[in-house]
């Protein structure tokens, strides 16, 4: 506690898009309560802090740090370690920090391929000398350095100890506010906090629990990409052949995407009891593919199944859109895989 006696709040972005910060602000007038309760100790998005300010804090000075963004480079990791050291409670906030999210999709390719795409083969880039950013560059004034770009994107808990995880890309404002209320309750009224390591601000079971669409037995002949089909407004999207990750995704968002006819993207990560969201999704929908029959010739059977499976354009990118860093294999084999 500092001069004004208020607990210290920090929010930091590592490899992220900034959506998490917007989502925090989307708790509307409740942000005033946050301001009332907390003292902002570090929040680069809304206030000017320097790293040296944080470094100057005593260890554990920050009461709660909402860390969003994945660990893409050495700077992200250094900041994670610094904030871990300075925070009593470190929260992996949002899908990037929790499980890699969109940045970790680059684990489906290689560092080399990423650089080639970004610096050479990008339609908006003109780089005839094929210049790449360097970790260290000598200039007249001395040495300039850039962070190391990691080969593999990691989640926050893969570099430091994390107390809580709030899933979502971004986490839904009502859930954020609910979490903040618990924290405020703990800090101001001594109410208990959830056990360390918990996933908070979300449900425990799969999204279908919250989804109001009518669910029947599933027999799917093939899959459709969203542009190929006009979904029935009341029926389960998966049954209609639209890939909906809801079956293998943690509830908590209120099934926002399916309610407007878009298959769940899976941003809340796997429900309790599932280790690898993509593998489970894969297993479930392959199981209910209603093609091929045990009395068929093996060749015909394989061909039919292959045909149906090929209606899924990009299984890795689809099933692991948010959870690549937290998946069992975490990345593609070096130098191989789809670009």
């Amino acid at each position: 506690m500092t001069e004004n006696g208020k607990p210290k709040l920090a929010m930091y972005w590592a490899s992220s898009c900034g959506g998490c910060e917007i989502s925090v602000l989307n708790i509307h007038e409740n942000i005033l309560t946050v301001d009332e309760v907390f003292d902002i100790a570090f929040f680069p998005c809304i206030a000017d802090f320097k790293i040296k300010d944080v470094e100057a804090y005593p260890d554990g000075y920050i009461d709660i740090c909402l860390f969003n963004g994945a660990i893409r480079n050495s700077e992200n990791e250094e900041m994670a370690q610094l904030l871990r050291q300075k925070s009593k409670v470190l929260v992996a906030f949002g899908s990037c920090a929790y499980e890699g999210c969109i940045p970790a999709l680059s684990n489906l390719t290689t560092k080399k391929a990423t650089f080639e795409k970004v610096y050479f083969n990008n339609p908006t880039i003109d780089n005839p000398d094929r210049i790449l950013p360097q970790h260290s560059t000598e200039v007249a004034e001395g040495e300039l350095t850039l962070p190391h770009f990691y080969h593999t994107v990691k989640s926050l808990d893969q570099v430091v100890e994390v107390d809580y995880f709030i899933p979502g890309c971004p986490p839904e404002p009502p859930q954020i506010w609910a979490v903040l209320q618990v924290v405020i309750g703990a800090l101001t009224a001594g109410q208990p906090l959830p056990p360390a390591g918990s996933i908070i601000g979300a449900g425990t079971m799969a999204l279908c629990d919250e989804c109001t669409r009518e669910k029947k037995e599933k027999t799917i002949k093939r899959f459709f990409r969203p542009y190929e089909i006009q979904p029935n407004p009341d029926q389960c999207l998966l049954e209609q052949g639209i890939i909906c990750m809801g079956i293998a995704t943690r509830s908590g968002c209120g099934a926002l995407c399916p309610s407007v006819g878009i298959g769940c993207r899976g941003c809340y990560g796997p429900p309790d009891g599932v280790e690898d969201q993509g593998a489970k999704m894969l297993s479930a929908i392959a199981s209910v593919l209603d093609v091929g029959h045990e009395s068929m010739d093996e060749d015909v059977l394989e061909e039919l199944i292959q045909e149906a499976v090929d209606t899924i354009a990009d299984p890795a990118g689809t099933f692991y859109r948010f959870s690549m860093a937290h998946s069992i294999l975490k990345r593609v084999k070096n130098g191989k895989g789809a670009a």
């Binding site: 894969l282 009395s295 059977l301 090929d310």
Partner: protein
């Protein structure tokens, strides 16, 4: 460890056909590559893709899923579900750069000890040719922080 590479294969064998095929291969004293480490499951339909991924993650060079022939599954069609999952998993693993030979699906009935033994031999040869996978060290071990990429690209 010497330079000689002996692949490690995890085998998920169904209780009714392929596990018995392996039993029969033994009973008939058919000698085959000792590289298979069998794990018994009741049906190839029990094989969760997470098992396959975890096997690769935990150091296996290859995974063999073996079940009854289509139409002969002791649970009617669990093997068809295994085939559907395998087909989708194979497509996904391809995106991971994992060679097709590393994860294979085999049909071996309880009387096909020779089929199972031959498949293990063939797979062992395939994997010897491909070299070790060693996901933990070789794929995840390099975090790319040690050097910047200019010389690589």
């Amino acid at each position: 460890m010497s330079d000689h590479f002996e692949p490690v294969i995890v085998g998920f064998l169904c209780n009714w056909c392929s596990y018995r095929a392996a039993d029969l291969a033994g009973t008939a004293r058919i000698k085959y590559a000792p590289n298979l480490r069998p794990i018994r499951v009741m049906c190839s339909g029990r094989v969760d893709p997470q098992f396959v991924l975890q096997a690769l993650r935990s150091g296996a060079d290859g995974v063999l899923i073996a079940g009854c022939h289509p139409g002969e599954c002791h649970y009617v069609n669990g093997n068809i579900k295994a085939l559907r999952r395998f087909t989708l998993l194979r497509k996904t693993l391809e995106q991971w750069g994992i060679e097709q030979e590393r994860v294979q699906l085999l049909w071996a009935s309880a009387s096909e000890g020779t089929v199972l033994a031959a498949a293990v031999n063939r797979m062992t040869e395939d994997l010897r040719a491909l070299g070790p996978l060693r996901w933990g060290e070789k794929v995840l071990g390099d975090n790319g922080a040690a050097h910047l990429v200019v010389e690589e690209v």
